[in-house]
Amino acid sequence: MSALAEAEAACAPYGNEPSRCGFELSRSLLLAVRESRAHRPDLVLKFGQYLLRSHAGRLGAEVWAMYEQVYIALLHYGRRPRAAGSGAEEPSEEMRLASEYYSLLAARFPDSMRVKRLEGMMWEAKGEYDMAMADYDEILEEEPNNLAALKRQVALLRARGKPAEAAKRLAAHLEVVGSDADGWLQLCDLYLSQAQYQRAKFCMEELLLLNPMAYIHHLRYAEILLTLGGIDKGGNADLVRTARKYFAHSLDLKPRGNLRALYGLLLCCAAAPKGQKTAAEVEELGACAQKKLLEEYGEAKATSMLDTVKAMSTALLS
């Protein structure tokens, strides 16, 4: 169980009501959200506002991190879709409170780049993308290696529906900082969203080099290969075979609970050309993947899936 799930479970008996959970539980819940980098603005808003209202003094230096955390959650709720904003509307309650928190942070840390980035995020939430971009540019001029600002710019371009430009900027950054795994993952995602499979494949190769023990990278790489070699792309036996190897290696690195690799192996075995000299081995591998899948579902006591998977895999391998 993750720290976040544990903290959530601890709050459940109190009906998830911050004032009944009290200071310690609320604080540890928000700490867990911060450390797991989970996207849970709903929790942050509910528990963070309670802490800032009732226990700001007890938080000590942590109060600033809390302001930042709640501020970002407020922006998330306060933002309006562009279509609905006609410009002259009253700011929402969330945005009003966010401005208040921003003033507190800016007064406490007047020259901070981190606070400057928060200002940029406020512009983003208001839909003033050029102002936001200018803020981030300013930060990058001061600190060319400010990762957070660079990534906001990439996210901003993406949010404006310019994935190609976002990819270009991210690629330029990765040319300098080749060890940024998150960056490669994001770039892979951007390329995939534009159906640039060869480039996405290259990103995964970089990630495999950076972290050869990560089963998830092998898995993703195999999925890209199998997509490229799939039936609707004409079917390519070499790509299917290579994909099979990477699915198998992923399974080797994570033998339990790796359903994606098992399904991937099934598909590869079904797509392998018939009548080759390795046909018997492929058949054996397919049967093995099927057996392991059924074991997984048996252990999970997922009876409805058990029958479904049995029928599906039998049809696929026959």
Binding site: D42, D189, A195, A200, G257, L267, Y297, A300, M305, T308
Partner: protein, 193 residues
Amino acid sequence: MSATTSIEVQPEAYCLMFLHACKYPARAVNGLLLGTAAGDSVKVQKALPLFHSSFALSPMLETALMLADEHCKSSGKLQVVGYYQANELCDDLELGPFGKKIAQKIRSVCPLAACLLIDGARMQPTAREPGLLPLDADGKRSAAALSLPDAAAVQRLDAYLQHGGQHLLVDFDAHLDDATKDWLGNSALLSSA
């Protein structure tokens, strides 16, 4: 290609589609619609949430489609009658290349299949504005009549959101990470109301 003329969405399916989009507000999500098709009308009884990660990769999508088919066969009454999608950007009302491909694939089996896009700018649906756009397989607005879920369905959705029901929803992506999660029935969510 014959166009559907009427689509009826039942409350359970309607709620699941929206809760799926609410669970992953920053991502594109998609799923299948199960139900019955007869004459020129489609009745959507159930939604099967699929993905919140990339739509570009085919292996797990193919797997999901095959599993959904088997699930329908074993249920006896249902078939895949449609596809739904919510985009990453809330003002993006296009199906996109991947969505089109999936929709066409489904229509090659069920020519009447409905294709519904969740309108991200209208995520607070009312009975009059359900926040769903019916589309043709080539991504154009369809002339199909969408028979709206009644006020009770919208109320039910509100009730789910009130107690954080969206966090109980399980899509195929989440199921692949944890075999105990029930994506076919979403029993944890549906029994929570």
